[in-house]
């Protein structure tokens, strides 16, 4: 008999989904699902900010050093792969890794700054990649609940796929990996148009008007395509679609009331891990209809 070797994967939560932060339900549900069906996630000791937004917009070297420090820590703990569920984090880690691989001088400066070597042989996974690579069979095996007629629009946003040359994950214009996972949970995947459109991201604070327009288009398109809920894998998308939904409704005078769920929460519901423990009570838009579909 072949004994399956236990896969250890370095877990990099990042600021947005770690315990006590604004999107902790994403982190919680990712960990709960991993406990249930693997692979073993081990938090990278002493991790720091990935350098997204402010650092990478102002100082390339600083932002690269911030990301590379996390990768180096993972390398020192012997991880071959890192899971960064937040796409801002996974994108920053991957781009920084490529930047130092392409630029000897930068690599040297960064290594001097963090006082650690960086080999560059750790693979950084986003959450969809992790599920696709490790969990599809497990979900099929251990699924306890099948939702009744639950139609899900899979929303990727931009950071999971772009820039495609560097990230090299799925088809940047018409990705399908999230749909495959949605269908594995027993939900029905709806075909819709705006799954890779931008939600406005960080402009939510500085240019709320743009974000409201973009998110309104997305919500409208998903609802018109017949979706009961939208699945996401990004805290920023979640915030803009969930937290801002009431404001969007007011601004554009249309009621959506459509739950925005993390893909990890959907998997958790299918595995019957309990809505509270998955953090489904921490959304702005009530997720009851989704939870009830799995009843």
């Amino acid at each position: 008999m072949q004994i399956k070797e236990k896969t250890r994967i370095g877990y990099y939560p990042g600021c947005a989904i770690t315990m006590g932060s604004s999107s902790e339900e994403y982190g919680t549900s990712v960990l709960r699902v991993a406990e249930a069906i693997g692979p073993e996630l081990e938090e990278i000791h002493d991790w720091n900010c990935c350098g997204a937004s402010s650092a990478h917009a102002t100082n390339h070297k600083l932002s690269t050093a911030l990301s590379i420090r996390n990768i180096s820590l993972a390398e020192q703990s012997g991880f071959k792969e890192i899971l960064a569920p937040c796409p801002m984090c996974s994108q920053r880690l991957i781009i920084s890794q490529k930047d130092v691989a392409d630029d000897e001088e930068l690599k040297k400066d960064v290594e001097d700054a963090i006082e650690m070597p960086c080999n560059g042989d750790v693979k950084i996974l986003n959450y969809l990649e992790l599920i696709k690579n490790y969990c599809m069979d497990e979900i099929a095996e251990k699924r306890k609940k099948t939702p009744k007629d639950l139609k899900i629009a899979s929303y990727y946003g931009c950071l999971l796929l772009r820039p495609p040359k560097v990230l090299q994950f799925d088809d940047p214009e018409n990705p399908t990996s999230m749909e495959e996972i949605v269908e594995a949970t027993g939900a029905i995947s709806v075909d819709w148009e705006l799954k890779t459109n931008c939600c406005g991201g960080g402009f939510t604070l500085s240019r709320t008007d743009i974000v409201l327009k973009l998110t309104n288009d997305i919500l409208e398109c998903a609802v018109d395509a017949g979706a009961d809920a939208i699945a996401v894998a990004c805290p920023m998308c979640h915030a803009n679609l969930d937290m801002r939904q009431k404001k969007i409704e007011k601004e554009y005078n249309r009621k959506f009331n459509i739950p925005i769920v993390y893909i990890s929460e959907l998997i958790g519901l299918a595995l019957d891990l309990g809505p509270i423990s998955l953090g489904l009570n921490k959304h702005f838009i009530d997720t009851e209809s989704v939870v009830n579909a799995f009843a």
Partner: protein
């Protein structure tokens, strides 16, 4: 006896003399190279007085070898060798030392350039010492041309050659000649109807005494060489006898398979399984689409001969020809052999595939159509009789968005080049649309407007200024469906704003791409192709219609994107090259060919018959030869070079393990003499 060598150093205006001290090169060469009896410099060696200087000095000084230190041999080797012939010197004693492209142009430092030039000239004088007289190879010419492709390029070339009095064989893989041009509605910049100018040419070609046409046929193989090509043509089974059939239409009217997408109408209309591609097709006789015909499907399933299937025999029953019907289900492919002296490749292009742009719907929205589809919509002979109706519901679109550069200039989709025709045809599309839908509004997203042609700029300006098309400079990021509208999201980079248009129809100016099988086809013909699989011309400026193989010429879009006038011009040029080639009974070829050595018995040849040379030869010029004893028994099998095919690339000589192959004009002795001249000085 040593040679008397003359060295002529060219200033090339200031191209060489600015960074090479030409006087010093001449001086040093004369001083340090015994055997160099005469040196001089001249402002333009290639000019008439320059050539005269060469001719005179050969005679006056009794030169038996000449080195011209000037530009690349690709430029003027031919010129100087011809000048030498006039003075009675065998041209293969004239060598070019290239001190321009790889010396003066790349070394701004004059002393460095001068020293390198002196070295290069010395190398060539050493080679000239070893040069032997070579005689041009004479090849017989078959006075017949093959044209591959029956679009406008092929038809034009065929007519030009046929009018010149030579036989032409035309091969077209579709059921009718005409190509893409027959599908177009109106043509820019004059807006004359494509069919009106194309169909008379098709008829002329079909009725020309000197043209033999093979439609529904493909090239099986091409062997041989310049002047003597052996061509095998596969005449695919048409299932219809072209001699018996009168094209009366009885068969396709009764065909029950009516839901097959018409290739000619770009999928916007349906055709039957026995069909003619379009009403003006030539020959105007049908073909059976064996993939889709229910009789053939049934025969394949039951593994019986098609004629034994009883599923449907409507077309043969309807055929009025008696006693033998014009339809023959059991017809098989036929291979015919022809000999030709020259070949013109005019295989055309294909439009970029629909599904490549996920952001524009990836081919799933019916109302996002390609440029060619719009041509069919606007064509009077098209599926809508020329009325602009959108494919999904037949409604007249009130807002149409045209997106330029779909595929073109987009390296991320694999086409980094400009397709050249789209700016013009989009301008034309907006006009055709506005002429037919007066109240409609046309928007065009563009990167740049490239309309460089006679009357082209005025044409595109007319679309903007007189016909009222709105041109927006920017890319479209996404097209998606909302209700029965298509939402087009784009940027207007001139005002720096985001644009959102609710359109009824979107037209993509799709890139022109090389044919799917261009790569395999080029390999079949041993011609070179570029990174985009377009066939390469011999020289981008000076030999634009010659392919890399002698006797094979290129015309039209198989060589790169072009519009109709350019295609016709290139076809005419290729035809004139062919006519020149066919004008004499014998051709003279450069004698720079490889040779397998022959020795006296008992060795016969040092060739060991490994045939590595055959594997590396890009021109299929290596044959095998049996050396036989008097009684006919084979003593040894060795390689032999076919002089007609050999292009003198030298790969075989470099590969040969027993050093049995030498390249005339570049043999080991000559090359080593050149190398030694650098090493030991």
């Amino acid at each position: 006896m040593g040679k008397k060598i003359g060295v002529f150093v060219c200033h090339c205006g200031t191209n060489i003399s600015a960074t090479v001290d030409v006087e010093k090169v001449a001086e040093e060469t004369k001083k340090n190279n015994p055997g160099v009896s005469y040196t001089t410099t001249y402002k333009y060696m290639c000019s008439d007085p320059g050539q005269k200087l060469l001719r005179d000095k050969i005679k006056e000084e009794g030169l038996t070898g000449v080195v011209i230190a000037a530009c690349s041999p690709k430029m003027h080797e031919h010129t100087f060798r011809n000048a030498a012939i006039k003075s009675g010197l065998n041209p293969y004693h004239v060598e070019i030392s290239n001190i321009r492209e790889q010396c003066s142009w790349v070394h701004p430092d004059k002393p460095v350039g001068t020293e390198k030039s002196t070295d290069l000239v010395r190398m060539m004088t050493e080679k000239v010492r070893k040069d032997k007289s070579l005689k041009p190879i004479k090849v017989h010419v078959t006075k017949r041309a093959l044209i591959i492709g029956g679009g406008i390029a092929g038809i034009q070339a065929a007519l030009d050659i046929a009018d010149g009095g030579h036989e032409v064989i035309m091969v077209e893989r579709e059921a009718s000649i005409g190509g893409h041009m027959a599908q177009l509605s109106e043509t820019f910049p004059t807006l004359d109807c494509s069919q009106c100018i194309m169909t008379p040419k098709m008829v002329e070609a079909a009725q020309h005494d000197n043209i033999t046409m093979h439609t529904w046929s493909e090239i099986e193989s091409i062997t041989g060489y310049l002047g003597n090509f052996d061509v095998k043509i596969r005449k695919k089974a048409r299932s219809v006898d072209l001699d018996l059939c009168t094209g009366c239409s009885s068969c396709w009217q009764v065909c029950p398979c009516k839901k097959i997408k018409s290739e000619f109408d770009m999928g916007l209309a349906n055709r039957t399984a026995i069909y003619i591609p379009f009403p003006q097709a030539i020959p105007s006789k049908p073909v059976i689409d064996r993939e889709n015909c229910i009789l053939f499907k049934d025969a394949r399933k039951k593994n019986i001969k098609p004629n034994d299937s009883k599923v449907c025999r409507k077309c043969i029953d309807a055929c009025p020809i008696a006693p033998v019907k014009a339809i023959d289900y059991n017809q098989e492919d036929e291979i015919i052999d022809v000999k030709v002296g020259a070949i013109i490749v005019a295989t055309g292009f294909r439009e970029l595939e629909d599904g490549l742009y996920g952001e524009y719907g990836g081919g799933k929205y019916e109302d996002v159509i390609t440029g060619m589809q719009f041509e069919r919509l606007a064509s009077a002979s098209g599926p809508t009789d020329g009325k602009i109706k959108r494919p999904s519901d037949g409604k007249e679109p009130e807002i149409v968005v045209f997106i330029q550069c779909v595929g073109s200039r987009d390296p991320s989709k694999g086409c980094s080049y400009c397709s050249k025709t789209c700016c013009m045809y989009t301008a034309k599309h907006t006009m055709l649309y506005k002429h037919k839908v007066h109240h409609g509004h046309a928007f065009v997203f563009y990167i740049d407007i490239r309309c460089a042609g006679k009357g082209y700029e005025e044409f595109s300006q007319r679309a903007i200024e007189e016909e009222g098309a709105t041109y927006l400079r920017g890319r479209v990021s996404r097209v998606y469906k909302k209700g029965d509208k298509l939402i087009v999201l784009g940027a207007d980079t001139l005002t720096g704003s985001v644009v959102e248009i609710e359109a009824d129809m979107v037209v993509l100016a799709s890139a022109m791409k090389a044919q799917d099988d261009a790569e395999q086809f080029a390999q079949k013909l041993s011609i070179q192709y570029d990174k985009d699989k377009f066939f390469s011309e011999m020289h981008p400026k000076l030999k634009p219609v010659e392919s890399s193989s002698a006797g094979i010429f290129l015309a039209g879009t198989c060589q790169g994107p072009k519009d109709i006038p350019e295609t016709v011009a290139q076809a005419g040029a290729a035809a004139s090259k062919v006519l020149a080639l066919l004008s004499s009974d014998e051709l003279e070829r450069e004698p720079v060919v490889a040779r397998v050595d022959r020795q006296l018995p008992p060795v016969f040849s040092t060739c060991i018959g490994c045939f590595y040379c055959q594997k590396v030869c890009p021109y299929s010029a290596i044959e095998s030869e049996d050396i036989k004893a008097r009684d006919g028994s084979v003593i040894k099998t060795v390689a032999r070079v076919n002089e007609g095919l050999c292009q003198g690339c030298g790969l075989c000589a470099a590969t040969c393990r027993s050093k049995s192959i030498e390249l005339d004009g570049f043999n080991d002795e000559q090359i080593y003499a050149e190398i030694n001249a650098v090493e030991f000085n």
